[in-house]
Amino acid sequence: MTDALTAAGLHTFYGKSHILHGVSLNVAEGMITTLLGRNGAGKTTTLRSLVGLTPAREGRIVTFGQDTTRWPPFRIAALGVGYVPEGRRIFPNLTVEENLKVPNGRAGDWSIERIYALFPRLAERKSNRGRQLSGGEQEMLAIARALLLNPRLLILDEPSQGLAPRVVQEVFAIVARMRAEGISVLLVEQNVRQSLAVADHAFVLDDGMVVWSGPAVELAADETRVRTLTGATAEDWEGAAPRVLPAG
């Protein structure tokens, strides 16, 4: 099995503070990989390094067979890496439709019509400005926007953060759907149980280091270990609904 993305020994800094201490991980092609860890563990920083926003000072990143370690973000994106940032970061002053016209990706199956078919809610609100959308709609827009790059790899940073339980279900259903579409997924989540339920493989990050990795089912079977590793509260664990549709 080949990897969509392989990162080895990443060291990333914000100014002088050393955040990642040699993170290595891989995303297998066509699979969902989840990256877990307590708040401040360095998950967002890892993703920012992978997409080129905060380049790693040391280490190596190979994306779809190319060494992308020093590439600027737009080139990595053009390779087919869609990134849905933490907190969505949609363009609040642009309408939904204008937001969807920003991506400048490779050619592929995804079109605005197809997005509207997948997210009917966005079609209804296409003339509304980004800032007028609810949290769930903003998340859908952020995912839709990344899909219009026609990504082969989709990287999501806490997509269910701050959403109502019903909307969380929708988000996880979409993530599962992406695998069915043949898109590889790297998913960062606080919602540990549900991400382990959709994921094939899991990495746990703590203090800028990978402290556990293995099949998602293995980690999911050991609640105590999950709790100690990820700092997940009982609520994160119990509050989540059981396994959502595994696609494909």
């Binding site: 080129g52 600027p72 973000p73 737009f74 994106a77 940032p85 400048n104 990706g105 790059l149």
Partner: protein, 278 residues
């Protein structure tokens, strides 16, 4: 090294005294370095912005947006400035020229002052306050809320998407505004001259046109294009490099306006020299 000098000196004389000249030199050096670095990065930023105007993809919609924001919404403020400037010029020059019994030169004086100098400079300064500040605030907000990062990860180059269209809009919109301002300014002067200074309307208009040369108007429009570019450039540059939340954006806004205003006056001198110095 620095410590060594200070302590060596300090052992003989007092501690503070020998420090003062060194500090001054260091501060001067830091200032010069900072100025050079700022000039360098501004120049690189400008070159990068312009180079994106020459390479596709082009964002026509973004240009149109910036053009309307820059040109259309600045029309009232530029129009009012121009009319009052024309009126004041007429009043001032009539009293001044009366001392030499040269009142007939007044229409030429008004139109030359406006087209060559006051039209572009005053419009530039007014628009810098309005549009330059707004651009810095908008792009700065995008920067500190990670929207510029988001653009990059959507494979869209912010220099091409945000900066280049604004630079072009500035260079195109300000000359048009100044052209309108020139006409309104002359009308302001005409109004005062005919209504309260007893000029004959036809004579005034004839004197206005007779001594006017193409270069007078063209030089003003070229100045305006340069000023418009400067306003957009500094608005974008300061917004783009802003850091640290709402406070950073506020600081960027102020810097954009101040720097644009100073540069406008400096370039005004340079361009005047270029056009008219013999």
């Amino acid at each position: 090294m620095r410590e060594a000098i200070t302590s060596a000196a300090g052992s003989k004389v007092g501690r503070r005294l020998p420090d003062a000249p060194l500090d001054a030199v260091a501060a001067l050096g830091r200032g010069v370095f900072a100025a050079c670095r700022a000039t360098g990065s501004l120049t690189l930023f400008a070159l990068s912005g312009v180079s994106h105007l020459l390479r596709p993809p082009f964002y026509g919609r973004m240009f149109l947006r910036a053009f309307i924001e820059f040109g259309y919404f600045s029309l009232p403020v530029v129009a009012l400035t121009a009319i009052f400037t024309g009126m004041v010029l007429a009043l001032q020059s009539s009293t001044g020229l009366a001392r030499f019994s040269a009142e007939t030169a007044m229409p030429s004086l008004v139109v030359l002052s406006i087209t060559r100098e006051l039209g572009p400079v005053l419009a530039g300064l007014m628009v810098a306050g309005r549009v330059g500040a707004a651009m810095a605030a908008e792009i700065g907000t995008m920067r500190v809320t990670d929207q510029i990062d988001a653009l990059q990860t959507l494979s869209t180059d912010p220099m091409k998407y945000l900066v280049a269209p604004r630079l072009l809009a500035g260079a195109v919109a300000l000359p048009l505004l100044v052209l309108v301002g020139d006409i309104l300014g002359v009308m302001g002067g005409f109004l005062i001259a005919t209504v309260s200074l007893g000029f004959n309307a036809a004579t005034y208009l004839r004197n206005t046109v007779d001594y006017l040369q193409t270069i007078d108007v063209v030089s003003g429009l070229v100045k305006a294009a340069v000023f418009g570019f400067i306003i957009a450039l500094l608005g974008c540059f300061h917004g783009y490099s802003s850091r640290g939340g709402a406070q950073g954006v506020g600081a960027a806004t102020t810097s954009a306006v101040v720097a644009a205003s100073v540069l406008i006056l400096a370039f005004d001198y340079g361009l005047t020299e270029l056009f008219f110095a013999k």
